[in-house]
């Protein structure tokens, strides 16, 4: 009995592995060194984020207030990185900020915040966009027009400006910044998904399932969605980098995370306010570096995915 289960598991996992290896998308992607590098960066950042959430400030580390509130009584403020001041590599590796908080710890924790809120933003806009896009494609006519013209209106604004205007309505907070960005990104997903869904709906097997009496939800979930998954994934990945930048930008401008939050956007704005004219470059440098590298990871992966989907771009010129 036990042996029987084991064989079956082995067989099915081999099946899955074979299927993955056979998929041209995945093999294209994995042969792209830049995409693999992107995947590596993202993986490393996820590890950093989880480490920060557990061991820097969290169940196995200090309380979060060590990162958010002033530490002026306990440490020197605007202390340069220890290795610059000749105090050894491991003391204050990124220096301290104007409130004497440790920039290394805050930067690591920023990875957790960026990935968490990035996931929420991209997740919500993907779900909303996929829903609206499929409905528009499937029902056509009035539904299509109402949905897509609304999306056109949202697309008529430069994205950061629309987000700013929406934050003006909702009030400035991290949660509201996320909601604003979800509304800004949803139309892009809706467009991509509608296009992909329309292509799928042209296929004859969809007509066949409808003729066999399949209900609308069944056609959408069983056939349309799985077949438009690839473009959705590409769009999500590319948008992830954008979401992280835009969230940080809103925080930087004072319309996102609260002051004191160890988010990269807030750290950069504090770096500009406290170190720009007096030359404390480490206040801005490290949080920005992590932000840029994370975004680069998502862009590398997203770019590779797009190339893998469209193999024409990979051919060499003769």
């Amino acid at each position: 009995m036990a042996a029987d289960t084991r064989t079956r598991t082995a067989a099915s996992s081999r099946g899955l592995f074979d299927r993955l290896r056979a998929s041209p998308f995945l093999s294209n992607l994995l042969s792209n060194r830049l995409a693999v590098a992107g995947l590596g960066i993202i993986f490393a950042m996820v590890v950093v984020a989880l480490y920060a959430r557990l061991f820097v400030a969290g169940p196995f580390g200090a309380p979060l207030s060590d990162l958010t509130s002033s530490q002026l009584g306990n440490a020197q403020n605007k202390a340069p990185p220890g290795w610059l001041a000749g105090q050894g590599l491991l003391t204050d590796i990124f220096g301290t900020d104007a409130q004497a908080r440790d920039i290394y710890e805050r930067t690591l924790y920023g990875a957790w915040l960026a990935l968490k809120w990035g996931t929420v933003t991209v997740g919500l806009s993907t779900v909303l966009g996929v829903g609206l896009g499929t409905l528009a494609a499937y029902y056509g006519d009035v539904t299509d027009n109402v949905i897509m013209r609304t999306m056109d209106v949202l697309l008529a604004f430069p994205s950061l400006l629309l987000a700013l205007a929406l934050v003006a309505i909702f009030g400035a907070s991290l949660g509201n910044a996320v909601i604003a960005l979800v509304l800004v990104y949803t139309p892009r997903f809706a467009r991509v998904v509608r296009g992909a869904a329309l292509k799928v709906l042209e296929d004859e097997y969809v007509d066949a399932t409808v003729a066999l009496g399949a209900s609308d939800p069944r056609v959408l979930v069983k056939h349309v969605l799985p077949n438009s998954l690839a473009p959705i994934t590409v769009q999500s990945t590319l948008n992830f980098g954008l979401a992280i930048i835009d969230l940080a930008a809103l925080s930087f401008l004072g319309f996102g995370a609260a002051p004191g939050t160890p988010s990269w956007g807030i750290m950069l704005s504090e770096g500009v306010n406290n170190g720009l004219l007096t030359g404390q470059w480490w206040l801005s440098f490290f949080p920005g570096l992590f932000l840029a590298v994370t975004v680069l990871g998502f862009n590398l992966l997203g770019d590779g995915m797009r190339d893998a989907l469209d193999p024409r771009m990979r051919e060499t010129v003769d």
Partner: protein, 347 residues
Amino acid sequence: MVSKRFVVKRLLLLVPVLFGVASLVFAILHLAPGDPAKVIVGQRASTAQVQQVRTELGLNDPIWIQYVRFLGDAVVFDFGNSYQIARGTPVREVLVERLPVTIELALYGQVLGILFGIPLGILSAVKQDSITDHLTRVGALAGISVPIFWSGPLLILLFATSLGWLPTSGRIGTAFFLPDTWTLLGTELPLTGMVTVDTLLLGNWEAFVSAVQHLFLPAVVIGIYSMALLSRMMRSSMLEVVRQDYMRTARAKGQGAKITVLKHGLRNALIPVITVIGIQFGTLLGGAVLTETIFGIGGIGTMLVAAIGATDYPLVQGTVLTFALLFTLVNLGVDITYSYLDPRIQQ
């Protein structure tokens, strides 16, 4: 040729979008928390004072009357007066004063991006899969990934704070005072509001140099992003074109490789890149908000941030609507240019 029908159709399609845009902007004022009248008279004012201002602004009228009035005013670009930031000044005047500042910045950034991005993209495509190509591609991706609010402060720290070569913020040295008008052959004409142009019109060479020094870093920050995006587009567009039959024919006829690429390839490959330049204009305007904040430039971006912070709704509405209108018009221009270059689009 671009057919008139195509242009007219595109213009008509614009109407519902702009109508929706205006409606959304109207909603900003009416969904936003807080009473605009209180913002104007201040929190300590009496109820009677607040009511008086509400009546003056027409805020006590039924919402649909306010909506119709807003649409009517929006058509003639009248958004009322600023509540706070430029107290009592018509929003239109504020916009006219601030817009050239932002456009000047975006233009210089875009020009830098085009000057460096397009040649890099061509080089990358022609030498596909070489070291040059790999470096350009990774560099371009990095350029897109680096946020303006990081590269900006780092450049200031290096070139202004540490080395002292360039100023840290502002548009022109404090020693220079620019008048409102200039004189050409005895007639007084208004200045453009673009500081590099104005200083030249006034013939003030030292002020011009100062303006260029101030504009340099912000333009570079915007230019890096623009360059990265354009070189990517140029590369993929060029690769697409290089595979076409007419390229092979040109080579078969004995034309040199360089001439083929530049004469036949570039002309066709530029078409999609023009689209990107247009679409990017919107991104640049959005980016201007950040760049202006970092470099302390008093354009429309810094004003919008201040207006949102001070709940100056007419100013927010006017600014956002202007941006959306500019963005939409540029996209329309791009579509028309595109169809002129590639007539197949019109069908």
